[in-house]
């Protein structure tokens, strides 16, 4: 029990008091944002909003939403029952540090193809690959976690682009997390190359006529709030910090409704050009007494076609309903289940590799003593 609970007792009281006061100010801020959002909608429709151009130049300070063609404070329900098929992917990885006995960098990518109303069990593909270097040899060096994550992200969309099956129905592809890659592109050549590959794969999904959505559960973004802060920066003392877009759309969206589609303005937006331009909307996948807001990222090619948007909207609601009181797309959960690599599997793979290396007469380095010491069994009681 390394935590000093006696030490923490008064701090827990402080924590609660601070949370109480923050909550009070949050409610006021949410009201203020809702007023500004309605005002923004009115000004856009009446043509009186002049300084929207301030949102146009992407830079680090301006990671925000930008109004698209729909009214920014409007919500949209669907009432269609169109047929579609779904493809989702997820990935997991094994990374190593120099403390490990063997450097292992591996990605495990799963894909799941689900045909609603087919009475067929979903099809599943899982691909496990060691990470290779530029010469296409399995990398025996320790690779940074960031790079492995990027390789995994590219492979996940690869699964969505490259799995072919016969269907006449629209294909909706769903990935877990945003379509905008975190911190990408970066300066180094291998990152740049992977990012380029990512964009090409997105383009392939577009060319295949598939609809792509990045599902972000419990979003923390404040893109719409930031948009309002920029538009109404002339209001003195405007402080909208500490709240997120989800706080706003909890109030604004009824269960099953989505927000307007916004364009995503970010430092990397310029890299997603033409049909790949990033857009998003919020969606309430919860129930009347228990709303739950998620963010869905889409590309321009999907955003520009209202039929596609409706299909994606419907598919996500259908999938979330399957999970009952804790709505989350069933297909994404299953893709995660099929992809996730647990620590014991890393240990099994290490043992398998060690055995094969020993049989080949290759000497194996041992793990660091620091790592071994951390794994020592806790003291046990004598029986």
């Amino acid at each position: 029990m390394p935590i000093n609970y006696i030490n923490l007792q008064p701090q827990i009281k402080d924590y609660c008091e601070q949370a109480k006061s923050t909550n009070k100010s949050r409610t006021l801020k949410i009201d203020q944002v809702l007023d500004l959002l309605h005002r923004c909608a009115d000004e856009i429709s009446s043509g009186t909003l002049n300084n929207i151009s301030t949102l146009s130049s992407p830079n680090y300070k301006n990671r925000c939403a930008r109004p698209n063609s729909e009214c920014v404070n409007q919500s949209f329900k669907i009432n269609n029952n169109d047929q579609y098929v779904l493809l989702a992917s997820d990935g997991s990885q094994i990374t190593s540090t120099h403390h490990d006995a063997l450097p292992i960098s591996l990605i495990n990518i799963s894909g799941i193809f689900y045909q609603p109303n087919s009475r067929k069990s979903p099809e599943i593909q899982v691909s496990s690959e060691f990470i290779r270097n530029a010469e296409n040899n399995i990398s025996l060096d320790v690779i940074s976690e960031d790079l492995v994550n990027l390789i995994r992200d590219v492979a996940e969309v690869g699964m969505l682009a490259n799995w072919h099956f016969k269907t006449r129905l629209p294909i909706i592809t769903i990935s877990d997390g945003p379509l905008e890659l975190f911190h990408a592109p970066r300066a180094s050549a291998d990152y740049q190359q992977l990012f380029q590959e990512y964009l090409e794969t997105l383009e392939k999904i577009h060319q295949e006529g598939r609809i792509l959505g990045g599902y972000i559960d419990k979003p923390r973004a404040n893109l719409v709030i930031r948009m309002l802060e920029i538009i109404y920066q002339s209001i003195s003392g405007l402080d909208l910090s500490g709240i997120s877009d989800a706080d706003i759309f909890f109030r604004l969206l009824e269960p099953g409704s989505r927000s307007a589609i916004f364009q995503l303005n970010s430092p990397s937006s310029n890299n997603y050009t033409g049909p790949l331009a990033l857009h998003f909307f919020y969606l309430n996948v919860g129930r009347k007494d228990k709303p739950w807001i998620v963010r869905v990222e889409i590309n321009k090619w999907a955003a520009d076609n209202i039929i596609n948007v409706r299909l994606l909207h419907q598919a996500l609601l259908d999938q979330c309903r399957l999970m009952g009181s804790q709505p989350y797309p069933y297909i994404l959960h299953r893709a995660h289940e099929e992809a996730v690599v647990h620590l014991d599997e890393k240990e099994k793979l290490t043992a398998l590799l060690s055995f094969s290396l020993q049989q080949s007469g290759v000497e194996i380095a041992s793990k660091s003593y620091k790592s071994s010491a951390k794994e020592l069994q806790n003291r046990t009681r004598m029986k």
Partner: protein, 199 residues
Amino acid sequence: MNDITAGRLLRSNTRGCVVGCHVSQPAPVFGSMINIPTKTGKVFGLVHDIHIDDDGLVRQLAAAGNLPDEVILDNRINRNVPVEMSIIFIGYSIENKISHSLPPRPPLSLDEMYICDPEDLRNFTNAGHFGYFRHVISRQDIPAGELLSAHLQAASTAQKVGGNPNWINEAIQEIIILLRDNHELMTNVLGAIGDAFPA
């Protein structure tokens, strides 16, 4: 002999074992006689419990209400949810010689289990003089009456086909003798047999 495997052994001891199988495999029913081939012969047993474990997703889906067929099939076919069967050992064979004693050594992990066909049933139940009943009757932790009743039904059918319709009467006589000092269990066992063989 039935040559389609009905599962693989997960864990065992001298008196019984637990076998796991996929839901799509031909699963034996409660009371089925099974055999597990070993290096020297076979171990015979009766299925006395079948259990299907849940997990977090299954619990959440069960509470979610109407589920489409695709989700049910996904959980039954794609997800790794084995059906587990508990087996009580009732005998073994070495070089085709059947004994109604407990096997000298339990089978090993991942050994395959097969459902006994009527011929296997006849061969086993004709060997000796119902000595295997004691393994069932002596176990306090299994539904002995129900298990014997299910087994007698299957064995009696196999014996009738083999031209021995009197086998069931001999079996019941033996059970009465074995349980003459345990009135409560005898009532229980005979009640279950009575339900299985209505007059």
